[in-house]
Symmetry: C2
DNA sequence: CATACGTTCGAACGTTCGTTCTAATTATAA
DNA sequence: TTATAATTAGAACGAACGTTCGAACGTATG
């Protein structure tokens, strides 16, 4: 094993007219990745076989291997493309917003918008989080870490600017839970579009942390709610 | 295929002294389920082989099949036992609480307490949600539905009693996301015990929905916060 | 002792797995 | 056209899969 790289993911040097050639290969690979996403989503990474992918793409097994090195690399390409796209869109959207609260709302909206437009990809990203090994795994983990740190930064900004007292790690992880778990239950006809959902989830997490710490004896709460009041509780 | 049930999960009629015999079989099966949980958790259901389980339990392959009918049934037994236990504990704990808010807090606490005491089991339950087929799948789905409906009922009670206006389905699903996603990030040394986490998540979801709907133009919010005020927004 | 039964095992069943080999076919460049 | 390289497929590789078989073991009751 391990000899002769042979087929590269995207080879820039290609003898012929370069443009048509490269895009032809890449377009074909993109189609394959689309079908692979659907199959991985439906059967899981381990549960899906290369023969399933062969059937889904209408290619032979050997034909598939002309465009990728392994089944694992297909998953890697799907996850990397999905995650990179989300991250890229996020940065673009965050550039237009300065208010800490609105930035968190934008984070949620961006995630849910992408989810609605590419449900299968995001499920494969979330659900097959542990399916890659070694080098491939760590590259995805790097993007994930950046995504996490951005969100953590948004939380810390809000916390600082409003003088709040809450655990930012727990808040971020809870938010991630809300927006990632969605692939297990979301139905467009029932749950509305990304904007509506993002607003609800934004309400929950933001009001949740802004008012965090004032455990109410029922009626007490009515008089509270001042934004800058520091409600000091746990950690 | 399909002939001779042979090995039953737990046979009540057993020739000998009945007690010692039945418990011996059941105890052995319990050990196997414990090891299977660990392996399924680490490698995933599809990724784990019966030979992995054989190695983990120290038994031969054929020995394993003396205690179960299939790999799928092992997953089923794990999921059913885990889910049933959570549900049972939940009902017991809810019996002592009447206040709607405290009941939701109890729901969260019960879930997290069980998670901390059986992390692997809960991961196998959450992560392998789609790994069972047909009959086995639908039995677990039934328990899941009951669990969901209990939580939905708690939300609706709170909503009704406080005259709130929020989408209960979204709230429940968001809460489920928070408490289920935890298996991807929880570290005891970093994140504290179940009680601390349950309080934080309880703060988020409860303050989140109680104050839901009052999207603030920053300073507006200070004057709001009245519990029974109906803030009419989305849907 | 003999009988019966729960328990365990090595070995093998047939199938499917991810991957590769070789050769044929197609498109492009000279 | 011919030469070159990209693309495809049939068939097969060895390994691993879930499961089963038949025989042995241990123990306890008749």
């Amino acid at each position: 094993m391990g000899t002769v790289p042979a087929t590269r993911v995207s080879r820039l040097p290609s003898g012929t007219s370069r443009h048509a050639q490269a895009t032809r290969f890449d377009r074909r690979l993109e189609k394959i990745l689309g079908h692979a996403t659907e199959v991985f989503c439906r059967k899981g990474f381990e549960g899906a076989s290369m023969r399933d992918l062969s059937r889904a793409t209408g290619m032979s097994l050997a034909g598939l291997y002309h465009y990728c090195e392994s089944k694992e690399q297909l998953l890697f390409l799907i996850q990397k493309h999905t995650f990179s796209t989300i991250l890229e869109k996020l940065k673009a959207q965050l550039a237009n917003v300065t208010d800490p609260e609105e930035r968190i709302r934008m984070f949620i909206l961006n995630h849910l918008q992408y989810f609605v437009s590419n449900q299968r990809g995001l499920k494969v990203l979330s659900h097959e989080d542990e399916s890659l090994q070694n080098g491939l795994s760590s590259e995805i983990a790097g993007i994930k870490r950046e995504y996490y740190r951005i969100c953590l930064g948004l939380m810390e900004d809000l916390r600082r600017k409003r003088g709040l007292d809450f655990n930012t790690r727990t808040a971020v992880m809870s938010l991630f839970g809300m927006i990632n778990w969605i692939y297990t239950w979301y139905k467009p006809r029932v749950d509305g579009n990304a904007e509506a959902l993002a607003e609800q989830m934004g309400d929950i997490i933001l009001n949740g942390i802004v008012h965090s710490g004032n455990r109410q004896k029922k009626k007490d709460q009515i008089l509270k709610g001042h934004l800058t009041s520091r409600n000091l509780r746990h950690r």
